[in-house]
Symmetry: D4
Subunit: 150 residues, 8 copies
């Protein structure tokens, strides 16, 4: 039953959760392609101004960057079989919740990944997810189960 | 050019921004039906347990409520011509961003409404919106323009 | 926030659960149109042969009837805002589960209604539902909450 | 006219009908990838609790497992060219009928596979199918015809 | 269970089958709106040239008319709940089969109406239909059953 | 065969072609709702800055206005049964061609309206249209034919 | 600009038009996969009865075969980039027109191929096509132009 | 995070902007397939008449060619991950704006490429784009960022 899966890793960019999942999946020998947004914070913020020219107004500086990032994020979410959305304990991470909303409306299965302390604040997002994990290793376990269990 | 519009008012539930928009639209004589999530905080949190039975575990208490609320929110977003998403300065409001993601993936026009102090944190959501307002009266002005300008 | 909802009542046809929901909603003054499959068992089984001509082979007798019933059921599910699926304790009721699968793939919110004794057998269907009720009165409570709570 | 087909094998997990189809297709040299749900009963039931943590309440124990299994089943049904749905003579198999409903709403061709004794109970599902087989070898014959007949 | 249905009557234009269905439905008090293509043969053939200007080449004379007729037929098929497709014993009626193909791809239920002598020639179209009738009165019976049977 | 149609009138805003069509349809007693973009040139250009605040940079001044106008145009095109696209002999009117592209991808029937001198420049757009008219009266004739011809 | 195309060859099965196109494309070195329905007339008619069991009634004999053939034809049309539909001068070929209707509703580009003597009878189908050819060599020329012209 | 992207290059055919982008992407080692319409002006204009036969009337001469070109352009836009639309300072280029409208309605990310002098005329198209570039090198920079930035 070997087939290839594509998994998009959305959300928090300040811890190594993506690496843990990618390495865990590699160690388990899973046939998965992982995709993600740009995770270099400065590049993500400034790509618009750097490529298309500086803006005096922060709002339009942000708009230019967000537009370019959206080309990548929307396309990769659209191609994904599963979308994992990670919420950390810092920042508001509205883009992670926005990605989850996109994935839900597109009918993509969602796995949320966050500390139980965020359970109440994330209840609507978790209710739209097929699974809620606390640790990256649980995401790897789900993928291993889905891809390899007979 | 008189036609009827339906506008969904998503997000923050602790200030009277919905009333301001609804009253402003009424004062302008606009042919709009406004819809919204349940805005009574306690009802929204506890509807699941009250109707379907209590849960010992908070996570499932929340899940039951979120499931019922989703019947309303997803249906009304699906029917809306325009989705207005309000972000306040309190709480994380991930459900507002989630609604915006749904609306975007469904191709619904989005109007965001928030203080400029949130501009950077909301840049991805604003980039998916057709307009970003600071005050409810601006939302009313947009609706009046869209519905009545020759 | 008054809007009109359409609710399809799928499944078991041997108890009065539909009447309980319809009367409960009327008593609560809800603006709901309820639709359902043909619930007269004999008519549902024999409509094909009666209208289109008798068949010697039971399989084709059933096919003719199922085809005609599908015109009604698929159309009304397609129009519904919410699909309630009732599983009783008799018969296999595969058509109820089939309707739930259709509704799920169409993105319709689902409310399941069954005895807790069926929980394990229905776990996949319940996992695709926004709410699982034990009694028709709970379905009415959900509709009242969704339609009338401020 | 050689092209590759993907066939999802849904339903009963207690007999070797999948093996018969897979081996028959291999013997016929057909270019088909077969996919299926997890068919190990215990794993399928307990995957949620094992990966995400135990639940005191059976309902939520089942929910966790059903959520994870749905990631696999919905994705593979969505990728399939043809969905074969097998109904055995034991258990209620509502998930098989649910899968058939999903496949039908997604416009996937369906082949049902069951004993004629179930014909009447399955008439709605059979009416949504392109073919109804009694034996796995007939499914193989259909695939061979579809893939190789000039 | 009173709801309104829209039924598109496609195909043959040289007998009074549409009138029989419309009158039968009216006599039965059914809440149905019937729509159809332009059934005046000369108008249908010449509308393009009459409105948009004459063409020397018959092919383009036909193209202009077919384009205008398609505005009506495609729109009304898209709005219909049910599409009835009538095949007579004269002419090739490829447009009727084309309409049936459109309706099928759009997921609309189809009722075919033709003499049994055409059964073999129409087997692909009949296989995509929910019911095949020989007489207009049978179409009325199906509609009455679907709309009024409890 | 009386049904209601909605017709969106896209494109050129400097001549009275919309009025001619609307008056012609009214004179013919057609049951049509006509919709259109904002046709007051100054309002259309400046609505963004007037409602949301002035911009120093023309590009963002235009962006704000275009965003608001898109809420109206995309929504009304999405609701339309037919889209009429008018190209005049002045200005580049890329928004008219853009609207035609949207309408085509959405499967909406298109009627183009322009001087034959523009035929070659508009060949791709005309090839996506069901009819190409030179005069507004021809659009009225098409609508009258589609709506009223038996 | 080398990309791979898939072309479905629908319709008439009594002349060698498919071979002419396939050989012409091969001679031109085009990167095209051609697909088609089963073109062996007897197999196509009898596949249902042979695989699933004989039927006393011709109507159901045909239904079984048409169901199986539809698994192949609908799937391959759904995968095709271009659908070529050939109408010969014998038989009614309603399935060809049905395929064209499916392709049109799915937004697939259509090339029709028929003698000019059929122009008037096929005007609705031709109006839904991007090109109408008289000879198979013209279909090859179109494919060569589309795939290889700079 | 290496994945393959397909980028459609729509619009102006009289300068070497496509070559600049293709060569820039190659120099950057990007895994991109570029597709485009036929850019040989004479071939694009005359393909219909050359393959399908001459037409006396220019309008139909153009129609035949536009139909064939649409097979290529619509298919390649449908397959693209990103659509780049170039507007030059000559000709009206309505087909470029039409392509942008198609891409937008299909939910494809759009990058516009034009001189700032065209900003006002293109404001509706730019508002539907994720990025607006002045130079081909900026398009390459966006692609490099999207495909290779960690």
């Amino acid at each position: 039953m070997s087939t290839h899966w594509t998994v998009y890793l959305s959300g928090e960019i300040h811890t190594d959760w993506r690496e843990q999942i990618i390495e865990g999946a590699a160690a388990a020998g899973l046939d998965v392609t992982f995709t993600s947004p740009v995770t270099d914070h400065a590049s993500s913020d400034d790509c618009g101004a750097e490529i298309l020219g500086a803006e005096a107004d922060c709002f339009w500086h942000d708009r230019k960057g967000a537009g370019i990032n959206a080309i990548r994020t929307r396309t990769l979410i659209g191609r994904a079989d599963v979308v994992v959305v990670r919420f950390g304990d810092k920042y508001r991470q509205w883009n992670a919740a926005f990605d989850a909303g996109c994935a839900s409306a597109l009918g993509k299965p969602i796995i949320t990944l966050h500390d139980p302390a965020l359970n109440h604040a994330l209840k609507e997002v978790d209710a739209a997810a097929q699974a809620t994990c606390e640790h990256p290793a649980q995401v790897v376990s789900i993928l291993r189960y889905i891809l390899t269990q007979a």
